[in-house]
């Protein structure tokens, strides 16, 4: 495809018009106005689209509304009030050299979720409790061999380009194998759970007293990213999304 403002040649136009018969791409209208064969091709592609549209318009059966369950306020925002309230000061935890555990802090609210999402979010947050050693402040990276045994090609492909990966472990969420990684963020360890089988409709925000995170829908799965409050989660998020690709 051509860059804005540049003239198209016929080959470029033919490729572009087959992808977009509305000719909304840069340089298209200018080219077809001056080239009769491309103008004819445009008319041909538009005629084809009329046939495609007609063929796609299959008959729709009458709507049968499913039985809709009552929605309680509890269903809209899941609040883990049963978790222990913990006092936590950022400089203290960041200053600790080893075995710094984030998970017992939490008191997390899951925002914009339904009950199913809450269950997933609860499992994700609860998982942090199981592996406290993961949340160690360190400058030591896991080996490539270790990393690729956890993020197996059958699950996902991963470039190491999103920070120092200090922990990699195969874990289980909802009975499925999940690569559990920890990278060293600006404020401390950031947990990343790659969940290729856990589909969600919308991002689930995890908002805790000392942590902040999100579970993102990614393709047919999801990825949880959880760090200390004040951590640049958005930056981590874009790096993770740029570097992880599902194989499943």
């Amino acid at each position: 495809m051509n860059a804005a403002g540049k003239d198209m040649n016929c080959e470029e136009y033919k490729e572009a018009i087959a992808a977009d018969p509305s000719e909304s791409f840069d340089g298209g209208p200018l080219h077809s106005a001056e080239c009769s064969s491309c103008s004819a091709l445009k008319a041909e592609m538009r005629a084809l689209d009329v046939k495609i549209a007609a063929a796609l318009e299959i008959e729709v059966p009458e709507l049968t509304m499913p039985e809709l369950p009552a929605i309680s306020d509890k269903g809209k925002v899941v609040d883990l009030s049963t978790r222990r309230p913990v006092r936590w000061t950022t400089p203290a935890w960041f200053g600790l050299a080893a075995s710094v555990v984030l998970a017992t802090v939490i008191g997390v609210r899951f925002v914009n979720t339904d009950v199913d999402h809450g269950t997933l979010a609860q499992q994700v947050v609860a998982h942090l409790d199981y592996e406290p050693k993961a949340l160690t402040v360190t400058d030591k990276a896991v080996s490539d061999e270790r990393l690729y045994s956890v993020v197996r090609p059958a699950i996902a492909t991963l470039d190491r380009d999103f920070g120092l990966i200090s922990y990699a472990m195969s874990c289980e969420i909802n009975g499925r194998e999940v690569p559990h990684l920890v990278i060293q963020g600006e404020k401390g360890p950031v947990t990343i759970l790659l969940m290729p089988h856990e589909m969600i409709d919308m991002p689930i925000q995890l908002d805790g007293q000392s942590i902040k995170g999100v579970i993102l829908p990614v393709g047919d799965g999801s990825i949880a990213i959880i760090g200390e409050r004040g951590e640049a989660i958005d930056q981590v998020k874009s790096k993770v999304l740029d570097n992880v690709k599902w194989s499943i």
Binding site: M1, E11, K14, E15, A16, I17, A18, A19, D20, P21, L41, E44, M45, L48, D49, K51, I52, A53, A54, A55, L56, E57, I58, V60, P61, L63, T64, M65, P66, L68, P69, A70, I71, G75, K76, N112, T113, D114, V115, D116, H117, H197, M199, I200, D201, M202, P217, V218, G219, D220
Partner: protein, 171 residues
């Protein structure tokens, strides 16, 4: 606002959403699954999920992309649960055949069958562009692929269709 008023308003909002988007939901599900019976199941599940998640839809302008995303995920869930085999065009079930039921227009039937035969990767962006009116960017977001990949798939999809229905390829 008390709870019952809020519940009524929520239900009215949902009904409006369904009345506007139900046809698109069904057709998208049908072309994804290539089976009207599965499409009906997928739409039912998608409606339930949409009802539960309705509060997450903040802007009505985003409703179409939102409901189609739910349909797409429910369709994937359905196939994951059932582990269905690939559709064999020469050996369709009664329900699958219903999508290709002959009409008075043989040209239309030919195009429909050609679309039906397209690989999922090519059929889906075509449905989203031609039937749903999605932009390249919106298709890319929904399918989780790059805009360039969407354009390549659309280009190939149309060329395959042209070959299949005997009009030759564009390039």
């Amino acid at each position: 606002m008390n709870n019952s008023n809020a519940d009524i308003e929520r239900r009215q909002r949902f009904d409006r959403l369904v009345s506007v988007w139900h046809q698109d939901m069904y057709r998208y599900a049908a072309w994804l699954s290539r089976d009207p019976a599965i499409a009906e199941d997928v739409v039912q599940e998608a409606l339930l999920r949409a009802w539960k998640s309705l509060d997450a839809l903040r802007e009505e302008e985003a409703a179409k992309q939102w409901v189609l995303t739910i349909v797409r995920r429910e369709n994937a869930r359905h196939f994951e649960r059932k582990r269905l085999e690939t559709v064999d065009i020469d050996n369709l079930t009664a329900s699958q055949s219903a999508m290709l039921a002959e009409t008075a227009d043989t040209d239309l039937d030919d195009v429909r069958e050609a679309i039906y035969k397209l690989e999922d990767d090519y059929r889906e962006p075509l449905v989203l562009q031609v039937l749903m009116g999605h932009s390249t960017k919106e298709i890319a977001e929904l399918m989780g692929i790059k805009p360039g990949a969407v354009l390549t798939r659309l280009h190939r999809a149309r060329n395959k269709l042209k070959v299949e229905i005997g009009e030759g390829a564009a390039s």
